[in-house]
Amino acid sequence: MGEQAATVHVIDDDAALRAALDSLFRSTGLATRLFGSTTEFLAAPRAEGAGCLVVDIRLPGLSGLDFQEQLAGLGVSLPVVLMTGHGDIPMSVRGMKAGAVDFLTKPFRDQDMLDAVAAAIARDRDRRAAEGRLDALRARYATLSPRERQVMALVAAGKMNKQIAGDLSLSEITVKIHRGAAMRKMEARSLAELVRMSEALGA
């Protein structure tokens, strides 16, 4: 994944504020996509690459908070920065609980907004990187034979070769061969690494 410009998705029903945010984000080298409502956003094709959402909490139709709570269900995993005309505690709590990166009260300081957006984008990048690593792991795991997967699971559970051989009614030698193959296919450099991979895969 290259360092392509991250995209900030702005959803606000006020065209003037959309334009201002557009200019602000572009001045710092971010790409922007502007939407007047959540419906507009959902109807648009998804952008490639890392990004985040800047959403006004009060929107016609689906409100910002409801929208945020529904995002996961809609298969959108962009981090969300919330804006509101005047902050109120219950809303902030609800927003943060639902996983908002930040909560800004209008009018906000530009640096606060940019920081929040940067943090959100960083979080998205991390998530994307983690997701990328897991995908690779899964691909490697898919190359394992069923016996190798069994051996790997028991190794990760902390069992000795002899115990594994007993459990699977195999010879200790065969277990060693399967364990070596699994280590090789999973590109694990140490036993500890294999255990972490197994945990990550949830196997």
Binding site: L17, A20, S23, L24, G61, S63, G85, H86
Partner: protein
Amino acid sequence: MDAVLLGRAKRIAAVWALGAIGLSGAAWACLALGLHFAAAAFVFLVAVICLALLDGLRSSLAFVAAAALCLLYFFIPPYRSFAAAAKEDMAALAAFVLASGLIVALVHRLRSLTDAHREQARMLAQAEAAYLAEAQRLSGAGSFGWNLDKNEFVWSDECARIFEAKQGPRPGIDFIAGRIHPDDAGAFQALVTKTRAERAPFEFETRLLLPGDKVKHVHVVARPLPDAPAQFVGALMDVTDRKAAADALRRSEYRYRNLFQAMAASFWELDFSGVGKIVGKVRAAGVKDLVAHFAAHPDLVREMMRETRVLDVNDETVSLFFGGDRGKVTGSVEPFWPEASNHVYAASVVAAITRKPSYAAECRLKTLDGREIDALFTACFAPETVAAGKLLIGVIDVTERVRAQAALERVRAEFAHAARVSMLGELTASIAHEVNQPLAAIAANAAAGQRWLDRPEPDLVEVRAVIDRIIADGARAGAIIARVRAMATQKPPEHGPLEINVAIGEALSFLRHELQTHGVEAVAELAPELPRVRADRTQIHQVVVNLVVNAMQAMAAAPAPRRIRVSSVRAGDGVEIAVEDSGPGISAAHKARLFESFFTTKPGGMGMGLPICRSIVEAHGGRIDVQDRPEGGARFRVTLPIAQRDAHT
């Protein structure tokens, strides 16, 4: 026909019998006396002439022939024979026949002439009687004769018709007395007694009471004939209609005199013939647009006022304008017109010239002691009075009404203001949000501008766009604050031409935040290119905000989607604004009281919102009402009149 013939035959038979007797008698008498031919011929001639008086020419000639034969037989020798006699006797007989024939013919000629003359006279008399009867019927006047000595009373058919009597020409004085109205009977008897005693000409009016309780008024004149003082002739006329008309006229005159004098309005009778001369001169000079000409020449208007002379005024005018002193009622109307009311005077003159039936306007007038009053000025241009150069003016003092109206207007404005301020309080959050929005945009724009400038290569195109947006956002924030200030401050309403769609949009911007908080969506469906309405912007904001807040609150308990539809549409001479909600609607019991003050269905509600809306709308010359939506919910409808300048679009 047979009867006539029979009568004629009988008559002829009688004449001939008489002729036979007469001639035989003559013959016998002459023979008895022993008269000779000449004397007998004379006797026969007399008899024939006498007979000729009785009947037609033919019978008479027959008698002549018979007489000649008698003479020949009895008196010409040879006697008792028709045999021819001496020549001289025959000549005498022929002379007798010729003479008696001529005389008989003459007698008949005379008789027929007399008959024709008599017939003519009879027809003439008949025609005259018919003409007289017809003339009497037409004029409603009958004639009568009254002989005091014989106490005989004779009247014409028309008299009988007036009395509705079936009696012939001699009704009898008692019948007449019976038809006199009981209330007038005494006077009638007195007149009869007096006339009998003095035999003087009389003239009187009395009422008749006819069958069916019908009352008639009759006018009677009579006088004695010059050569027969006991014989009165007279005329009797039915004057019921004339009397009714005269009474009506008198009552009407009395009523109008009463109206003129006693009404609590000031009336003036004016002589404006001098004004007509001035206008005539102006027109002769080629002026077409009198209104503009008068407006441009106030001196001319004042001159016309000076030429408008006061003829008469009523009591109210004296007390209102002349300080109660009727002695001061004189001169022109000029002192009563302040300069500021010149245009009203000029307009009334133009109305009179253009033959309008009347003119009315409200204006200020001055009293003699210098007080100014608000007056309703009306002028009536009845063609009869205008032709005589006269004019009737009515003035009603409406000072108190104007003052009360102004006071009411002030109270209403104060009330509306109080309601606006309280509404602003409720909408603080929404307004703050609305102001915040452009402020946030300005801050973000400014920050962006800085960053564009701080770049290694400053992007001036972006900076310019940023500044443009800052200016626009600043203006927007300013406009919102101006609107809030207009709501908060009290100023007299300005009824200027207003783009209603713009005003609706502004009102909704007050409420955007509020609507979102309540989860209500407001949909504006505004007809494009509407004519402008004559309205005060702030007050229209107030009405729309009020109606939308009401709709929002009505839907508080309704299930989503909660939607308010705000629409505008052209409706006849006005523009109709509707605010519709999908709430529970308004019960019939509430609907009737909805616009009453202090009526509310909301806990903590004041019940002033809709009454104030109504008072605002009505002060704009508009209407407000509420209907049920067929699909549920309420629909408030406000109609405002189109501004005069846009009325034609």
